[in-house]
Structures are given as C-alpha cells and as structure tokens.
Symmetry: C2
Amino acid sequence: MPAKQAVTRTEVADLFRRIIRLSDDTIGQNRLVYTPNWVAAQQALIKFAVDQKLTVSVDDYGTVYVDLPGQTTASPAIATGSHMDTVVHGGKYDGLYGVLGGLSALLQLRDKYGQPRQTLRVISFSEEEGSRFPVTFSGSKHYAGIIDVTGITDNAGISIDSARATAVSQLQREPGVSRSLPDLPQSFTELHIEQGPRLSNQGKTIGLVKAIVGQRRFSVTIIGAANHAGTTPMNVRKDALQTAVQLISRLNQLATAPDPLLTFTVGHLEVSPNTSNVIPGQVIFSVDCRHAEDRILDTFEIQLRNAVNQATAPGITTAISRWVSDKPVPLAAPLLAANRVLATRLGYDPVVMVSGAGHDSEIMSRVTPTTMIFVPSVAGISHAPKELTAPADLTAGIALLTASLHQQAYS
Amino acid sequence: MPAKQAVTRTEVADLFRRIIRLSDDTIGQNRLVYTPNWVAAQQALIKFAVDQKLTVSVDDYGTVYVDLPGQTTASPAIATGSHMDTVVHGGKYDGLYGVLGGLSALLQLRDKYGQPRQTLRVISFSEEEGSRFPVTFSGSKHYAGIIDVTGITDNAGISIDSARATAVSQLQREPGVSRSLPDLPQSFTELHIEQGPRLSNQGKTIGLVKAIVGQRRFSVTIIGAANHAGTTPMNVRKDALQTAVQLISRLNQLATAPDPLLTFTVGHLEVSPNTSNVIPGQVIFSVDCRHAEDRILDTFEIQLRNAVNQATAPGITTAISRWVSDKPVPLAAPLLAANRVLATRLGYDPVVMVSGAGHDSEIMSRVTPTTMIFVPSVAGISHAPKELTAPADLTAGIALLTASLHQQAYS
C-alpha cells in the first residue's frame, strides 16, 4: 500500500505545518508549557489522532499518549515520542519532530501491516525545556513516577498548579480523550535532531546515541574591592575582573587536557558594580562542563577547584560552588545494536555518538530500555529560529524509527 | 581673636552635621541635584550664610554664591568652593568638604582680619557628579558660560528643566537671597578629598594638583556565535567571551608599558545571551584609560586599537569605538607655587600630584586661574558610604586654604 503511506506522510506534514503556524515564526517557535500556543498544539495533535481512530489519553500533567492498540493488550506498549514544548524563540524541530515522526511511523505501519502484536504508543510530553517554570523534564518525570512538581511559579508569578489545571482540563475535555496515566512501556525510542554539528560536519544522516553526557555546573565568585577608576593606582587595585579573566583563560586551557570531548563553557558572567569608571569589586561566573564519563568530570572538577583556589591574591578572595551534578546516562545497548543493523540495512552509515544535550530519554531510561535516533542539524544550530534539518534527513530518521517499531511491535 | 575662630569652626561643623543628617546615612549620602535632599542642603547653607550677614545669591542652575564683599568691589572676587551634589550612596566629604571648608576659611578670615581688600566668594555648585541627569559639571559649566543644559531627563522621565525650575525657585525665594549670576572670579581654589590612596599611602597631609588627567573611554564589541553548551564541540566554537578574556588580559599587559601612571580599567562588561548553558555570542566591554599627558594616551590608544583588531579569529569579529576623549587639564602653576610655599610654612610637606578624577576645577580653569588642594582619603575609598578623611587632615586643608585666600584677598 505505498500510495496510502504517501497520503499518511502528507497528512502528518500538514499537521506539522499547522502546529508551526500556531507560533508567529518571525520570532521562532514559542510553545511554553500550558500557554495558549501549547494548548492549541496538543489539541491539534489530539484531534488528528482521534480522526485517525487512534486511542488518545491525556495525563494530569498534559502529556498526550496516542496508542495503536496491539492484539495482546496485556503486553506493555512499544513507545516513541518526545516533547511538545519549546524554548523561548525556539526552532521548529526540537521535540516536535520526535512526536510527529513517531506519529508518522505509527500510521505508516498501520497502513502497511495493520494491527501490531503489541500496542504502539506515541508520546507528546508536556514539558522538557524548563523554559517557563524552574523545572525540566516534568512531563517524562511524571510519567516515570519520579517527581511531583508543585508550588513553583513562572516569571509572571503564575503558579504551575493553576496553569496546569486550566490547560490540562482543556485537553482532557476534547472529544474522544480519556484521562489516564498509561502503564510504562516495554521500550522507549526518541527520535530527535542532534542540536550539534557532528553529523552535519561528517556528512552523515543517522546518529545512534549510546549515552547522554553527565554535566556539572558551578558558580565561581571573585571578590576584590570596587574603587575609582581614575584615582586608584594600578599597583594597589583589587580588580575582580582582571582576576576573573586570568582565571577563565587558565580554565579554558585546563579543559583541553582531560579529554577532547569534554565541553567547557563560561556562559554567564556578572560584573559588579558594572560601570565604566569603577574598578570591578566582584565578578560571578558560571562553569558548565559535560562528558559521557564521570571520571573525566571528576578529573576536571579537581583541576577547576584548584585553579579557583589558586587565583586568590592579596585583597582578592575566590569561591566555587557546584549547583548541578548530573551523572552520565548510558542508554540501552541492545536497542542501539538492533538500530545499527536496521540503519545499515536501510543504506545509512550510522554514527554511534554521545548526546551533549539532555533529553526525555534521560528520564525514561530510568524506568525502561531507552534509545535515541539523531538526525543532522544544519550548522549545528538549535534553540533558535534558524534550527533546520534537511527534508531528506527528516525522512531518513522516520524510516529508521518505523523499521525499529516494526521489528519490536510486529515480530 | 582665636576664641571667635574656634566658635566659627564649631558653627561650621554643626552645619556640616546638619547637612549630613538630611540623608539617611545608613545608605550613604544622597543629594542628587534638584531632589528634596539637595534643596534642603542648599537651603541650610543659605540660611547659615544669611545669618552670618554674608551676601548670598543663587543663579538659575541653583548654584549658591556666598560673598564676603571686599573694599574694592570693582575688582573680581577671589573664589573657592566645590559641589553640593553627591553620587548615589555617596560619602560625606566629596564636594561638601570644599564648600564648607571654604565657608570656614572665609569666616575665620573675617573674624581675624575683618573686611578683605577683594571680595571673597564661596561657591556651592549645583551639580558635578552626573548622577541624576546625563550631564556632568553642569553647575560650573553654567557659571563659566560654557553650556546650557536643557531637554534631558532622569531615569524617572523627569525633565531637568522642570526639576530645576521647581528646585531653584525654592532657593531664590529664601529671605536675603538675590537671583543673579555673579561675574567670574580672579582665581578659583578647590579644596577636595583626594578620592585615591596616594596621600594616605605616603603618610602625607596635603596634595597640590598640577593637572587633571585626560581620559578616554572606549567600547569594545566582540561578536562570535551563540550556541548550545553541550552539543557544540570545543574546536568549532565561536565563543565571544573566550576571545574577550584573552583580549582583556593582553590589554592589561599593554597598559603597563607606556607609563606607570597610566590607569586602565575594564569596568563594564556585558555577555549575551548570558546564560550558563549557552556559548556567549557577544561581549561588549568598556575601556577607561587616564593620564596627565595626551601623548601617553595617544600611544596607548594605538596599541589598544591594534590589539582589538588583532583579536579577530575565524568566526569572530571585533570592533572598537571611542565615546569619551577629554584632554588633560593643566592647572595654574603660579597658584600651586604659592600654595607650596604656604603649605611648607604651615609645616606640611606637600605632594605635587595629578588628579585622576574630574572636578569642577577642570571647568573653572578654562575661564580663570585655578588650583586644587587635596587632603587624604582613608584607604583611598570614595563614592561610597565608607569615604573618610581624618579630622586633623580636614583641618589642615582648611588651614592652607585660609592662608591662600588671605594671601590673595587681603594683601
């Protein structure tokens, strides 16, 4: 039935364009969790799935589950999906590609093979980005039974509880929707754009993720003494910024040593009082470092702490505190091995790689075997309106996902 | 009449304490121009001077002129003074010391010697700090006939014209006050705290200012590319902050070469987007450099521009623009020479020095021979609530000013 599959692909592409148009794309995609744009997007997905006679449920965090029920409903589902929310001024593909790519795969399989042995499930997680409330991955964390998120507010002072209640009730009232939290699946496969330049630079189409990097974040504080830029001789200054630039320069050197794949970023830096005619009295900066192996992060953390402690000078004090420490997350090796065979059979030369970004798979891997399929991001751009993946690459990722879901749910 | 002089000193000290108490000193002194605190302070000065039967006038910018008329009123006045306004959260002595020190000197001279040959004038300039409106030295600039300031607003959107009209009319309505802009004086002597640590570090009491530094300020922009801190490999990053820290470090080295007295300050630095998990795409920082000789500033500016231009790298562009260029201002050598003799006679070992900060004297020197007397700032602290000068040093500065005014107005 190739003609019917072509129709399916066109219909899903229409749904993609419909959801994209919900955001004014001159400023990128803005589907922050529980906002009207977000509600409209999940509603569009629900309506499409109900029209397609799929089984739709919505949990109390607003995650949408689209099931194609299997013959043996007693067995757990084979699941795929990603998140519906975006960062502020985000791109078109981060998250949404995994949701609609999953839907496209599910419909193509139904068109071609009919009812699966095990239930196929596409998940559209409510929130992953942490771009509205100070929490990340709350959709997958709720499904995985890891946390309850309550009592926090967004920048406008709106509580997550009231925003969620209003938004989720709109989804749960949609015709054909049941309110429920489905059982955990037998496996979870997340299709996602790479959000980095490795595949693109290597001219490769498919990445298979063996692990998600661990990350540690630190805050480094340097305290000197603010003083008059004109009257204070150079040799008696306690200039916090001058110490900071020496230290950051040193850290950048140190970061090259433990491993070439270690990433090191000073992304945030605040000078105080930050006036052109006053010597900086205080500087606070962030350090973000990531690697797939905890021991590499251990090594760098020791060097980092030593360098910060050694940066003290007469009248200058330094301090460092760690505020994020996420261990590397290995994903399921058997699923990756199976996808590698399938990808090769489809004519791709898959790259086994590490994800430098966090994903819902990080959470899902705690409760079920989980794997990820990456497709290239043009120039590695992500979290920005210019985020782009070539149509052929989008299709390739969906083809591999389809083959994998077929192997798992039909054989 | 030493007893009467002691009474005078006590009365001026009372006035000082009264003015200081107008600001809640837990957050420092806050007498921003044309605010209620500022009006109350100028009113206190006016009332005191009228009570002392001195001649008081107020110009249309709110500068207060307190005259002890001389026998030959046809001759120009011998003037002293400083400014009444403060920075936000300022200290007790910056500006106010020169106003009340001048008043103390004038009253001691009258007590001891009676009417002077030439008129003695104490000036309390309306504004010098630029801490409310985007203009500096507007008091002395108005007196010197250099500029009219109009049409600008403060952060609250209040126009300087309406703020000035309201505040100045309150002063000009005070009993005994005439509204006028007096003729320019024959000389101007400004008594001021050093606002730097040189005198304090050398254990000296009196500084005589031969020049006010020239200063240039620049804005340096570094543009790279913002990207994901986890997914972007180190070797393809265009990290604007890493370029900035290398450049600032290099500039700090370069600044030591032209002359030990050259000051170099990066006081303001803004990172964009300034988020811990995003590689900085842009950094803008300020450069403030000062020296008493223009050729030293010329030399450094060439090196600065070369270093900024050389800091470009693949994917990184840099730019520099100059937004302040004030030439060094030499003060009157004959007045300094005379003060040096008087200071030595009084038992001080005066230090001839350069002022690293701007002062009303910079403006007054354009229209009349001008000199400055500095007293030590404890630890060089200024523009802060902890600004302090020891009582003995305050007295020493006033003693030298008194001797100088005596020499000029009575002989």
